[in-house]
Each structure stands twice: as C-alpha cells, then as structure tokens.
C-alpha cells in the first residue's frame, strides 16, 4: 500500500475562494464600455488587425456594427469568418495577433480591445440564441469528421451549412477539444465551451458520436469507404517525457495536459489535488495554464522551470505576466536533471542552469534544487499516428505522415490520400492555436464542398 503525500491534496481553500479564483479572468465589457471602446476603432482600410487574424475576421466591420448598436450584426460578421468566435474572443493571444497589429497600438501603445469587443458581440448573440446561418438544400453528401475540437467543429459547421450531412466522431465524452479539456478554466468559465458546441451544432445536419476513438471504435479505411469525405482533426494525443530517467513509481508527477483536463472536468475544484510546492516544466501556454491554475488551487509555491531565455518562451509576454502577477516564479535558463523523493512520492527537483554559447545550448554544472510535491510536465505534445494506422495499409500511412511526424496537407488541408482532409494540431502546418484550427476546419470544409462539384 503506497502512502500519500500529506502535502498533495485538495481543499487548500474555502469554497468561496475557489469560485473567486476560477471566475472570469476578464469580466465582459458592459454595453457602455463596449460603445466607448468601439468608438476608438479607426475603421482602417485593409485593416492590419484583420490581416493578423488567422481566420481573417472583418474586425473593423464588426466593431463599427457594435458602435452602431447592432451587436447581432457584429456577431454575424464574426461568425462568417470564425464560427468559434466566442471561444477565440476568450482564448486567442490577441496581444500577439490582432491587437498587436492595431494601429492604435502603434500610435499610442493602447490597441483597441478587439478580443473584448468580439466577446461582447458574441455574448449578446449567445444570450439571444441567435442563429445567423441557414442550411441550404440537402445534398445527400456525407462526411465523417474525426475529432470534435475547434478544427472538427469548424469543418462540420462549414459543411452542414452547405447542406451536407456530417458525423463527428469524438473519443471523449464531450465535444470542444482543448476548449473543453485543455485551456485554463478562468479563460472559459461558465461552461462556455459546451454552450458554444451547442451553438455550432444548432445549425442541424451534424450527428455526434462521442466515446468513439479512431483506431479503437472506428477505423480510417472504413470511414473512407463509407463516407464521401473524411476530415481528421485528432489533435496531439501524446506528450513529451522528461529527458532523463526517473522512477515512474514516484507519486506527484503528472503531465500538465492531463492535470488541466482533470481540473476542467472536476465538478468540485476543491477535490482537485495540488501540491504545496509545485514545479512546472515548460515554457508554452500549457505550462502557464498549469502553473497559474496550481497557484489558484492553493499551492503555496509554484515555480516554472524553462530551459531558455524568457524571451524565447512560446507563451506570450501577456501570459508570462499573468503567471508572474499570480505569484508564479519563473526560473528561466534551467532544466530539471533529476527527481528525488521518498519511496512513494516526489519531494524535490534538481535543476541545472543552462546557457547558450556560440549558438550552442549547454547544460552547465551549476545546480539548484527546488522542493516539489508535484511536478507538472508541459514540454510539448506529439502526434500519435497509431489510431490513423490502425487497419490502414502501410503505403497510405507513408503518404499521410510527413517527416515532422504529423499529417501532411496542402493549402486546402487536403492530405495526400484521396477524399481525406486533415487540420488542427495534428497536421504539419498546425500552430497550436484555437483560431488557427478553426481556420483549418473552415478551409477544409470549403475544399471538401468544392470537391463535390468537380
């Protein structure tokens, strides 16, 4: 019987504190605030913000619609380019996309709050149960979408609008993908991911089959045989491991992706165990989300260890600041080299300082040790080809997966296999961004639709 670390448990805080900590990170704009902010938009020509948006939302147009007290029209403009505009308004790193490109950022260092305005418009539409789309006549074409995350949902919606019948196969219990399972709770509170899934599905013509995993319950060759087209949006199922050998018996070591998924699905956040001392390894969005949420769950000390300079972090400066203002300590230029513990659980992490010399990345002899009741690894996710390979012939697999270990697609997200499209994080051009996944699904849907008329 293994014993449990007395410093790794839930219930660190009282119930009200959990609710406070995991409430909306940025409260929505009031109508007054939205009008004031919308007035700041210059309505630029060929607006840089629109160019910077991976889904190309006509931002000046929707902001002008808000300004003219037409929030539903604004929502329609947003949804025309991005059916998950509500989620993107919440989770997009706007400070490195549209808001970085805003001419007011250039002029004053204060961009128009595009993300907040987008949220305002889409919130009004959601509250009004607004349906901006109407399906065209049924075509009789059937498409299988594998994976119900942002790419899959966007593709399914795009096809359903054109009158096609779509079936979404999703391995988990709920659709939504990373919006439901992989992003910090305070970015999408109040069950928003599911509200948005319901909105996307409300167009009709989309059948969902949850608990259906590719390679276990359904197989690619069968889908290609049974459907007119298939869209793979299966994301990245694997995570990278720490680069050194360590005991897998030690309790308290977890990958950040599953930690966040567990947290997101918890009915009671007080029941989510977190260590008194937490070490998060990694420098991306997932690392930040895990670190900040550990702190919010009541961890006393959270240290994020990242092997390169802070400037090299994939997490945006805004996300880095978010971590720091939540009391997360950033230890850059360091890597874990050993884990220590008693027979049952981890107690500390030994790290080595790193440096770059003549362009070479080196681990030095300078060491330090961090107390750790919990170690969360967020050092990258990887594509797992096995589900695609299952019952598939080897030659096709060779065609599908490229040299970087993800699925190869062309500009219209068509793979090198007939009738098969793919998008989102599972493809080589994937950008690990919700908004990029939506764009992939949108383009793939258009390409699939186009292929039917050829």
């Amino acid at each position: 019987m293994t014993e449990k670390n007395p410093n790794l448990h839930g219930q660190w805080l009282d119930a009200q504190k959990y609710a406070e900590n995991f409430g909306d990170l940025h409260p929505p704009l009031t109508p007054h605030q939205a009008f004031v902010e919308a007035d700041r938009c210059y309505y630029c020509a060929d607006a840089p913000c629109q160019t910077a948006c991976p889904t190309g939302i006509d931002i000046p147009a929707f902001i002008r619609e808000i300004m003219a007290d037409n929030p539903l029209g604004a929502a329609q403009t947003i949804y025309n380019s991005n059916i998950l505009g509500g989620a993107c308004a919440r989770v997009c790193p706007t400070e490195t996309l549209c808001e970085q490109a805003c001419v007011r950022e250039f002029a004053e260092g204060k961009p128009v709050k595009i993300g907040a305005l987008q949220r305002y418009a889409t919130d009004v539409a959601m509250d009004a149960k607004y349906q901006p789309f109407k399906r065209t006549a049924k075509t009789g074409k059937r498409i299988a979408v594998v994976g119900g995350g942002p790419a899959g949902l966007a593709c399914a919606h795009g096809l359903a609008v054109q009158g096609h019948e779509v079936t979404i196969y999703e391995s988990r219990d709920k659709l939504g993908g990373l919006n439901e399972y992989g992003i910090a709770a305070y970015k999408v509170p109040d069950n928003f991911a599911q509200t948005e899934v319901d909105f996307v599905l409300s167009i009709g013509g989309i059948t969902t089959k949850t608990g259906q995993a590719l390679g276990r319950d359904v197989f690619l060759p069968h889908l290609l045989r049974d459907y007119d087209a298939v869209f793979l949006a299966i994301g990245l199922a694997g995570v990278n491991q720490l680069g050194f050998a360590h005991s897998d018996k030690l309790g308290g070591i977890e990958d950040a992706v599953s930690f966040i998924a567990k947290l997101r699905q918890a009915k009671d956040l007080a029941q989510v165990p977190v260590g008194k001392n937490v070490v998060v390894v990694g420098g991306g969005m997932t690392a930040i989300d895990a670190a900040v949420q550990s702190k919010l769950l009541g961890a006393a000390a959270v240290t994020l260890v990242y092997r390169r300079d802070q400037d090299d972090m994939k997490a945006s400066p805004y996300e880095q600041e978010l971590a720091q203002t939540h009391g997360v300590t950033l230890r850059c230029n360091a890597v874990p080299v050993a884990l220590y513990g008693n027979k049952d659980w981890v107690t500390s992490v030994e790290c080595a300082e790193t440096e770059s010399r003549n362009g070479k990345f080196l681990t030095t002899d300078r060491r330090f040790t961090l107390a750790a009741d919990m170690v969360l690894t967020a050092i990258g996710q990887v594509f797992v080809p096995a589900p695609v390979a299952a019952q598939n012939d080897a030659a096709k697999m060779q065609l599908l997966v490229g040299e970087h270990g993800r699925i190869v697609v062309d500009d219209s997200y068509h793979t090198r296999v007939e009738k098969l499209w793919a998008g989102g994080d599972c493809v080589e051009r994937g950008q690990d961004l919700t908004v990029a996944a939506v764009e992939a699904g949108k383009i793939a849907a258009a390409s699939i639709h186009h292929s039917f008329s050829r």
């Binding site: 009008f35 004031v36 007035d39 210059y42 630029c44 020509a45 060929d46 001419v103 250039f106 002029a107």
Partner: protein, 433 residues
C-alpha cells in the same frame, strides 16, 4: 496678460464671454452662479408679457452625439421665460446692482404692436440694465404666435420694431437674428436701417433631432408627438461663422457691431468669431453641457493665445480675417497644393487611401514595393484636402503649396501668377480669350 475687457456699444464687461439668452440665464440663482464663476455678462432669458407662457413638462432638449457620447449638437423646445414679468425685472435689478461690472442685457419678445414695445421698454429700462436684445430668432413655439423668427424672417418687421425700440428707449438695441432664412444680409441691413446698434447671431436652427424607430415619432417626444426645435451647439458653428462673415463683409452693414453666437465651446471658437468681426461672443450649449466653470478655460485660452500673438486687447485682432473672406470667383486658380503624408507620424490606418480611392482622385498608394505604405501620387492629387481632414493624426497629412517645377497632373508650371474664374477662358462671361 492680455486685456480681455470688452466694450460693446458702451456696455462694459471684464471679458467678451456672455451667456446667451437661454435656460442658463433664466433666473437670479443661475445668473449669480454664472457671475461668481467669472462670466463677463448675461443676456437674460427672453421676457414676454404676462400672463407668462407655459412650458411642456416633458423633455425640452434633444442632442446628437459623436464618439464617446460627446455632444455635437443640441436642440430645445423651451419657450421664453415662463415666470411673471415683475419677478424677472426685480431679479435683473438686483443682479445688476450686485454685479455692476458685468454686462446685463435683457432679451425681449412681445407682439408686433408699438404700444406693447413701448410698455415693456419702460419697465426694462428701470432695472438699470445695460441694453436690450430683440429676440427675432426663436424658431419654435413663439414663431407660431407671430413672434420670434416669424419677425426675424421679415426684414420690414425687423426695421419697424428696431425703430420703435430706439424711439422709446435710450438703451443700446441689439437685434438677434434667425438663421432660418436664405440670406442673412437682408435682416441685418433691416436692423441697421431701423437704427439698431448691433446684431447678434445666430439664433437656433429649425430641427428634428432624431426619430424614435419604435414609436415612429420624433425623439425626444411629448406623449408620442414631437415638434421642431432650435438646433445649436458645436455643429452649428460653421453656419454661424459664415453668417457673421457675410454681415461683416457686406458693404451695407460693414462695421455694424456683432455679438456672435453659435457653438462657441472653447476659446478658439470665440477667437475665430472675433477675427470675423464679433465684438462679444455669447455661449449657451457649452455651459449647458459642462457647467459654468468652462469660463476659466475660455478666458485663459483666449488670453494665452493673445499673449503668444502679442495682441494686447481684443480690438487688436478683431475683424482681421474679414478681408480674407471672399467669393469663389475671386479664389486664385493658380494656387496649387499637394497632400504630403509625414511617414514618421503615419500610423498606417489607410483611411486616406480608402477615401481617396473610393470618393476622390485615386491619388494615394497603399503599397509601395510590396509594403503597406501610404504616399501621395502627385500626378493624381488635386489638393482637395479630403485625406487631411479624415486622417486621425493631427498634422500627419498637410497640404503643401507648390511653387517650383511642373504640376504632373495638369502639366502646367507651378507658381503661376494670381488668376481667378473671372479671368478664366472657360468662363462664358470672361472677356479675355
């Protein structure tokens, strides 16, 4: 410190800023507050005959807003003073006695009968006020009763009433003009002919501010119905400037003192009216938008600007812009400007390109060598000023006069001597061929 003291028709005030005859000058309490705040004078809310008029108990005011709900234009359907004449006269007397250094002008509106004017003038003169202003301007409520703008729209009436006032009162007479006419010079000439000492303008412009699209009636409304009201505020200033200039440069009225009214919001507006010949300015909407305290900014701004320009008194710059207001046919057709975009100030919003492309002369690039960049194509630019007026950054786009070389648009040399339409070969009436 420049001297802001004002002498208008012998009416002295410490500064040229008077509160116009309107809600802010309706009663002693308000006027007392205004004088304490530093206003140079007031034109008391228009007095009429007893029994006094009644106002609606629904909304009297409407507005149009710009960005961030900044008030651009305002209108009202309030009538003249709705209090007994005697109370007003007592309060005017008390206020003039208490604030002898401030201008106290009384606005009047009674039916167009000589005896009515004679009667009220005697009582007004007894208050010790400095002058009277004849309200021939209000476009709502009173005009339907044959007063206000109904008088102001008939030059013969203006002349007649002005003459009565000069006959029955020793007080300076200012005739307040309505802009709801086709040519402001006619009523101004009539006022002068009747012996008026000055004109004041503009009164408000007939307007409906908005339509309530749910009730399908004017907005604001009184129990589902609305009526036209008088429009004023920053949006009317250009109309007022033109009318003031028309009177100032009309040979028949040149030199007639003008008290300017219409959208004065900052010191700069006041200076502009004075440059067009105004001897005092009257303010209402700005006070009704921000309160009386703005008088501090008005005085400070005007005085600082005068110091910068080394104007010691208001007379030093009064009317200096009048000779430069001319008619279109005398504009120099050989004066050529081209837009120039300061690339250091440009924030690349691209609006100049968009509007020039869509609505003007396709004279601004949006890409140069594959990079987003906005530059003027000299060969297309007609110098219209559209880009500069819509640019969100001050002084980013300027119109640069050209003097050397050849205009690539017209192939004509820059810097040709003055020539206007009257001399142009395309002018059918032009003698020179």
């Amino acid at each position: 410190m420049a001297d802001l003291s004002t002498n208008f028709l012998g009416i002295k005030s410490p500064n040229p800023f008077w509160l116009a005859s309107a809600p802010p000058t309706d009663r002693e309490t308000n006027v007392e507050r205004a004088f304490r705040a530093g206003w140079g004078g007031v034109v008391w809310k228009t007095l009429g005959e007893d029994p006094h008029v009644v106002n609606v108990s629904g909304p009297r005011y409407g507005a149009i807003h710009g960005g961030d709900r900044r008030l651009l234009g305002f209108n009202n359907i309030e009538l003249i003073s709705d209090r007994p004449l005697e109370i007003n006269l007592q309060e005017i007397t008390a206020m003039k006695r208490k604030w002898p250094d401030r201008a106290m002008v009384v606005s009047l509106m009674v039916p167009c009968e000589e005896k009515n004017w004679e009667a009220i003038l005697k009582r007004v003169e007894a208050t010790g006020c400095d002058g009277i202003e004849l309200n021939f301007g209000c476009p709502h409520g009173m005009s339907e009763r044959g007063m206000g703008s109904a008088v102001g729209q008939v030059p013969e009436y203006i002349e007649m009433v002005a003459r009565w006032c000069k006959k029955y009162s020793r007080l300076p007479v200012i005739v307040k003009l309505t802009p709801n006419i086709t040519d402001i010079r006619y009523p101004a000439r009539a006022a002068k002919k009747g012996g008026a000492d000055a004109v004041s303008l503009i009164n408000t412009i007939n307007s409906i501010m908005a339509v309530d699209l749910d009730r399908m009636c004017p907005d604001p409304h009184i129990d589902g119905k609305g009526t036209h009201g008088g429009f004023c505020g920053p949006a009317v200033k250009p109309i007022a400037l033109n009318m003031v200039a028309e009177i100032a440069r009309d040979p028949e009225t040149a030199g007639l003192p003008i008290s300017a009214i219409g959208g004065v919001t900052t010191w700069r507006d006041a200076a502009e009216f004075m440059a067009l010949g105004a001897g005092s300015v009257q303010v209402c909407t700005a006070a009704m938008t921000y309160g009386f305290k703005i008088i501090e900014e008005l005085c400070s701004g005007l005085s600082q600007w005068m110091d910068r320009k080394q104007y010691k008194s208001l007379d030093d710059f009064r009317g200096l812009a009048v000779p430069n207001v001319t008619n279109w046919q005398f504009l120099n057709l050989n004066y050529v400007v081209k837009a120039e975009i300061n690339q250091d100030l440009c924030i690349s919003c691209g609006r100049c390109h968009q509007v020039c492309e869509d609505t003007s002369h396709q004279a601004i690039t949006k890409m140069v060598n594959g990079v987003r960049k906005f530059t003027v194509k000299e060969e297309e630019c007609v110098g219209c000023n559209l880009c500069a007026t819509i640019c969100p950054i001050e002084n980013c786009i300027t119109m640069v006069p050209q003097s050397q070389g050849i205009d690539p648009r017209t192939k004509l040399p820059y810097g040709r001597p003055y020539a206007n339409w009257t001399q142009h070969p395309h002018n059918p009436a032009c003698a020179v061929k």
